[in-house]
């Protein structure tokens, strides 16, 4: 996987335990690298499985699952879309199937996919399409690092702190304990 993404600006690349998490690799990318990464995956004959968002404390973690027909091994590509302006470029131009998955993610979480050729509501009635049912109430959002499996880190951009354990000074315990809330 590191060879496939050679030369791309990645934030985080980790090998995951397939037996436990069901995926082989996890990659965090800045939104600007997403289309280039999708191009590489398309060229390497990966197929798209699904696109989803998880509403975390830091923003919407938009996850793209890819798998391979001949050499199975799921790859999760992740992009963080901030709550204030959740905008991610569309990959529907490369993977035609992404068009519907992106529209579904817009319906559920309100993430905007720039460049989607037909960005209208897919599953939810247009009259109530801006209710975003899967957005969580800010108090119940959980931090990314407490939710997602870190995996065995192969590369981590020094400026990327999303998956890093909290510094003890902040009063958190690393290894999963949640911040105490009143």
């Amino acid at each position: 996987m590191d060879a496939l993404f050679q030369g791309l600006a990645l934030d985080y690349l980790a090998r995951c335990d397939e037996a436990k998490t069901g995926k082989a690799w996890q990659v965090f990318l800045p939104a600007s690298t997403l289309v280039k990464a999708a191009e590489r995956l398309l060229a390497a004959d990966y197929h798209i499985e699904d696109i989803l968002a998880v509403d975390c404390a830091e923003g919407f973690v938009v996850t793209y699952h890819f798998d391979h027909f001949d050499k199975p091994g799921r790859v999760a590509i992740r992009v963080l879309a901030p709550h204030e302006a959740p905008v991610v470029p569309s990959i529907a131009g490369l993977f035609g199937g992404a068009e519907w998955h992106e529209r579904e993610t817009r319906d559920f979480h309100g993430v905007v996919f720039e460049g989607n050729p037909n960005f209208i509501p897919l599953l939810i009635d247009p009259d109530m399409a801006d209710c975003f049912p899967l957005r969580k109430d800010p108090k119940s959002r959980v931090k990314t690092r407490d939710l997602l499996e870190a995996g065995e880190v192969v590369y981590c951009n020094p400026t990327f702190t999303l998956m890093a354990p909290d510094a003890p000074a902040e009063g958190h315990v690393s290894g999963g304990a949640k911040t105490a809330t009143a």
Partner: protein
Amino acid sequence: MTLYADTQQVAGDFYTNNFAKTAREGSLILNLGPQHPSTHGVLRVIVEMDGEYILRAEPVLGYLHRMHEKMAEVKTAAQFIPNMGRVDYGHALGWNWAFVGAVEKMAGIEVPERAEYVRVITSELNRIASHLLWWGAYLLDLGAFTPIMYAFDDREKILDILQMPTGSRLTYSYFRIGGVAQDLSEDCIKSIRDFIPWMRSRLPMYKDLVSDNIILRKRIEGIGVIEPAQCRAYGATGPVCRGSGIGYDVRRATPYSVFPKLDFEVPTSDLKDARGRYDVRMIEIEQSMRIIEQCLEQMPEGDVLVKGAPKPSWKVPKGEAYFAVEGARGKIGVYVVSDGGKNIYRTKLRAPGFCNLSLFAEVSQGTILADAVAILGSLDLIIPEIDR
């Protein structure tokens, strides 16, 4: 039916107003569905026609949308299992399995071996029932009324068998986190043993009556060619990708349960058309019967539910997992991520029909309308699964 004169819009709703017409003059916009016999429920397709030919087609979804993923947020894991029977009524046990499998994976729960066999037997029976439902309904789409009578006769026998352990006939919620709800009774096993030779004796009749029928051949051969590259771009799986020559089956590619111990073939077809998909499904019925026979031979005695299986109020431990099974329509995937709270933090359901249908717009372009119906049917659509 709404006639558009050039760009001047006369009528229509949100979806027809947002339908990107091709530049062709004098084309006709036609609404297929949502209530239409060939759309298997409530699928709507907006098509732009030039005479009999389709210039552009756009499926409109959501008429059966129930937001199962939101329901997963407000129920505990065990309470969510009945929802899985209702996502896809054709292969309900496949969805049962995908969800409990994902939760078991995350919690590290080992399922007793007998339960694994029971799961394989029941879900393969369910797959045969699903293929029979498709077969009858597809031929009905193509104008052949009689086959569905035969298909439903056979399917009825499977429903009778599955009713014994599951207690229901269509929307099963039989699997539990850590096993299945109850063991197969002696009666049930005997009925399965009787069913298999009987079903085998029916298949040659199906072939003579329908598969080799010249009218059917003219309707499906060379229609709706899907290239392997399109399967990748759209994530098409199951008989759709196997009908295009890709030998991908989750039971083989990422084996789960006792499938590594079972001997069966993954049929593929290089025809890539509706015929290829038809052939693959017909062979899969035979292969499923082979699997069931082997399971009945190999199945050990023992429990069917792990000791200390989770109670309804059980909290799924922290973590994330993606689990996929091979459903009748392709790869059923369930992604769960939990923060250790009462309910699962986020559940994502990957419906194979959703991905398979998404390539319809591209494949139907340039075909005549009657063939588009033949293509739509060959994808084996179950709308509640697509809309979730």
